[in-house]
C-alpha cells in the first residue's frame, strides 16, 4: 500500500471523527434537564456545553490525524534504512562485494528495479536482490500502515471518550493551533540561524588563512594572485569592495532614488487626484517586482555604453564601459518604488489635522508639504531610506552585469569599481577547490554583508517604530 493512500486514509478518518464528535457534542448541548431543542418563546436554556460542538470535532479529529501523520512522516524517513538492513540479511546479499562503493551501487540498482523506476540492471548481481527488496519494502510499508491506523484509532477512541459537556475542548484546540503557529514562525528563524551559523563557520575557516585586520582594512584585492600561489598576504584587502558597494548602492543609487522617490510620494499623496493615484500607485508597486536581471540588462546594454561615450566626450580619463555610474543609476531607479512607497506610508500617516492646521494658517499646499508634512514624516522616510540602502548594497544582479570586476579605490564615477556581491559571485563560480582561501573569502564577504544589512534593518525598523508611536 502506498504512503500516499495511507495519508489520504488517515485524513479521511480524521474528517469522519470530526463529524461524529461534533454530532455527539451537539447532542449533549441541551442535555442539562430538557433534552429537546428550545421552544419558541420559552427562555433560551443556556448551553450545557463548555465548548461549541465544532471544537469537540476538532479535538477528536486532531487526535486521529496528527499522531498518525507525525508517525508516517518519521516512518517515511527511516523506512529506506530499515529496508536495506533487512535486504542485507537476506542470503542473496551474502554474495555482495565488500567494497562499499560497488555495494551501494548494486543495492541502489536493485531498489530502482523493485520500485519499477528502472527496467534492467547493469550489474547482474542486482537482479538477485530485487525480490528480497520487494519483500522487505512490502513488509515495512504494510507495517507502517498498520501502526499508523492503530495510532489513529487509539487517538480517536481516547479523545472520543473524553467528550463531555464540561470538557474544555476549545482550550485544547486553541493550544494546538497556537503550537502550529509557533512552529511556523520558528521555521523562518531557525533557518536564518542555520544560515548565519554556516556563514560564520566558513568565515572562521577563511580567517585561519587570512588575518581579519588585513581583510577588513587592506586596500589591495587580488584573490587571483592568491589562487595562483603568490600567497595570501595583500590579496584579500576588501576595502575597495566595500567602497565600491557604498559608492554604487549607498551614494549614487540614493542620489537618484531619494529625491525621485520622495517627489513621487509627495505627488501621489498630495496632488494626485484619487483616480490618478488609483492607477499610479499600483504601477509603481509593480515596478518593485520587476526581476533585477531585467534592470541588469538595461544597465549593461543601454546605460553603461551611453555613460562611457558621455565621459569620453567630456574628456574624463579612466572612463570604463562598466562604470559605477551606470550600475548606480539603474539601481537607483530600481529602488525608487521602494523609497516612494515607504515615504508614501509615512506621509499619509501624518494626521490630517496637522495638514488642516497648516492650511488654516493660510499656508499653501507646497508650504504645508515642505514645512509640516515632510518634517513630521521625516523619521519614517529616513527609516525607509535605510531599508532601501540595505537592499541596494545586497543587490547582486545589476552590479554583476553592469559594474566591473576591477577592485579600484576611486572617486571617479565613470571608472569601473567592483562590489561585495559581484566578488562573491566571482569567487564562487569557476572550478576552484572548495576550501581554498579564495573560495572561503566569499563567505567572509557574505558575513560582512549580512552583518551590515542586519544592522541597517534594525536601526531602520527602530526609527520607523519610534515614529509610529509618536502618532498613536
Amino acid at each position: 500500500m502506498s504512503g500516499f493512500a495511507i495519508v489520504i486514509m488517515v485524513i479521511g478518518l480524521g474528517i469522519i471523527a470530526w463529524l461524529s464528535a461534533r454530532a455527539k457534542a451537539a447532542r449533549l448541548m441541551y442535555s442539562g434537564g430538557n433534552a429537546s431543542p428550545p421552544r419558541e418563546g420559552a427562555p433560551r436554556p443556556r448551553s450545557a456545553l463548555h465548548s461549541l460542538p465544532s471544537y469537540h470535532g476538532w479535538y477528536v479529529g486532531l487526535w486521529v490525524a496528527v499522531p498518525a501523520l507525525i508517525f508516517l512522516s518519521i516512518w517515511a524517513n527511516i523506512m529506506p534504512g530499515l529496508v536495506t538492513e533487512k535486504v542485507l540479511q537476506d542470503p542473496a546479499a551474502m554474495a555482495l562485494p565488500a567494497d562499499p562503493f560497488t555495494r551501494s551501487a548494486i543495492l541502489g540498482e536493485a531498489r530502482s528495479i523493485a520500485q519499477g523506476s528502472a527496467a534492467t540492471a547493469f550489474d547482474a548481481r542486482a537482479n538477485d536482490l530485487v525480490e528480497p527488496y520487494r519483500a522487505a519494502q512490502h513488509f515495512y510499508s504494510i507495517g507502517g500502515a498498520i501502526i499508523a491506523l492503530l495510532l489513529a484509532f487509539t487517538g480517536g477512541a481516547y479523545a472520543f471518550t473524553r467528550i463531555r459537556a464540561d470538557f474544555r475542548a476549545r482550550t485544547r484546540v486553541e493550544r494546538v493551533v497556537m503550537m502550529g503557529l509557533l512552529i511556523a514562525s520558528l521555521i523562518a528563524i531557525v533557518t536564518t540561524v542555520g544560515i548565519v551559523a554556516s556563514l560564520l563557520w566558513e568565515s572562521i575557516r577563511f580567517f585561519t588563512h587570512v588575518n581579519p585586520i588585513d581583510f577588513l582594512f587592506g586596500t589591495k584585492w587580488s584573490p587571483q594572485s592568491a589562487a595562483l600561489g603568490y600567497g595570501n598576504e595583500n590579496a584579500f584587502g576588501a576595502v575597495p569592495l566595500f567602497w565600491g558597494t557604498i559608492f554604487i548602492g549607498a551614494i549614487i543609487a540614493m542620489i537618484v532614488a531619494i529625491p525621485l522617490g520622495l517627489m513621487s510620494a509627495i505627488y501621489l499623496t498630495q496632488y494626485a487626484k484619487p483616480a490618478a493615484r488609483a492607477w499610479l500607485k499600483p504601477i509603481l508597486e509593480v515596478l518593485a517586482g520587476v526581476p533585477t536581471v531585467v534592470y541588469g540588462y538595461f544597465a549593461a546594454l543601454t546605460i553603461a555604453p551611453a555613460m562611457r561615450d558621455f565621459a569620453v566626450w567630456i574628456g574624463i580619463p579612466g572612463a570604463s564601459s562598466e562604470s559605477a555610474l551606470a550600475a548606480g543609476l539603474v539601481m537607483g531607479v530600481m529602488i525608487i518604488p521602494f523609497v516612494s512607497s515607504m515615504a508614501d506610508d509615512s506621509i499619509t500617516s501624518v494626521p490630517q489635522s496637522m495638514r488642516d492646521g497648516s492650511l488654516a494658517m493660510g499656508a499653501t499646499t507646497s508650504e504645508t508639504i515642505r514645512q509640516v508634512l515632510i518634517p513630521a514624516a521625516l523619521p519614517g522616510v529616513v527609516g525607509g531610506v535605510l531599508l532601501a540602502v540595505s537592499r541596494a548594497i545586497g543587490e547582486t544582479m545589476i552590479v554583476v552585469m553592469a559594474a566591473g570586476l576591477a577592485a579600484n579605490l576611486t572617486l571617479n564615477p565613470f571608472a569601473s569599481v567592483t562590489t561585495v556581491t559581484t566578488q562573491i559571485v566571482q569567487l564562487l563560480t569557476g572550478d576552484q577547490e572548495f576550501d581554498s582561501a579564495k573560495t572561503l573569502a566569499a563567505f567572509a564577504l557574505g558575513l560582512v554583508l549580512f552583518v551590515v544589512t542586519l544592522l541597517l534593518n534594525i536601526v531602520a525598523l527602530q526609527v520607523v517604530k519610534r515614529y509610529r508611536e509618536a502618532y498613536e
Binding site: P274, P351, S353, M354, R355, D356, G357, S358, L359, A360, M361, G362, A363, T364, E367, Q371, V372, P375, A376, A470
Partner: protein, 259 residues
Amino acid sequence: MTETSSSALPKMTARDVNVFYGEKQAIKNVSIDVDNDHVTAFIGPSGCGKSTFLRTLNRMNDTVASARVEGEITLDGENIYNPSMDVVQLRARVGMVFQKPNPFPKSIYDNIVYGPRIHGLAGSKADLDIIVESSLRRAGLWEEVKDRLKDSGTALSGGQQQRLCIGRAIAVEPEVILMDEPCSALDPIATAKIEELIHELRGRYAIVIVTHNMQQAARVSQRTAFFHLGTLVEYGVTSEIFTNPREDRTKDYITGRYG
C-alpha cells in the same frame, strides 16, 4: 483694519449658503451675520452641519474634494468665494482653531512664528521674538512656557496645546477667529482657561465658536445660532435664546429634550 470696526456693519455675512458633499446636502439656505465685537456661538445636535458651515467661513471646505459651496459669504463686504479672493490672504484674516489641539511637531517658538513667516509679517528675528511673546501672552500661555520656547509643542499638556494653537492663530493678527469645539478634548480647568481667554480676545477679534456645551455657549457668547438638520433654526442674542427661544425645536434642544 480696526477702523472698520463700527458695530453697524457685520464682519462676515452669509446669504443663502448651501453646502453639498457630493450629492448630499449638509447645509440648506443658511443666512447669518457675524458681528465684529461679539462672540457668536453655533449650537445644535451632532451632524447638523455646524463644522461644515464654520469651515465655509475660511474656505477650509476647499480642502475636501467632494465639498461644494453655493451662495454668498462676505468678509468686510467682499465675497470670499470670488475668484479674485486669495485663499492664503483670506485664511490669514480668518483664523481657525480645531477640536483636537494640533500643534505642529516643532518647537513652541516655531509653532507661533509659522504663520508670520509664511505671510512675511516679520522682517527680523527681533520682530519674531516680539510676535512670539505677545501672541503667547494673549493666549495666556507665556508665563508657563517662556523658559522653554525651544521645547516641542507636542510635549505640552492638552490644554496648553490648545492655547498654543490659539496663540498660533493670533500670531498672524487675524480679524476673525473660528473655533470648532475648542474645549471638547480638555478637562474643566483647561476649559475654564480657554473660556477666560475667549473673554479677553472678544472685541479685538470677531469670534465664532462651535460648542456642544450649552453652559459654555451661555457663558462665552453674546449671539447664538441654533442649527438643526443643516438649517439655521434660530439666531439671536444669547440670553434670549436661552431664556426665551422663539422656536420649539430650539427650546427642546436647550432644555435637553432633544439630542
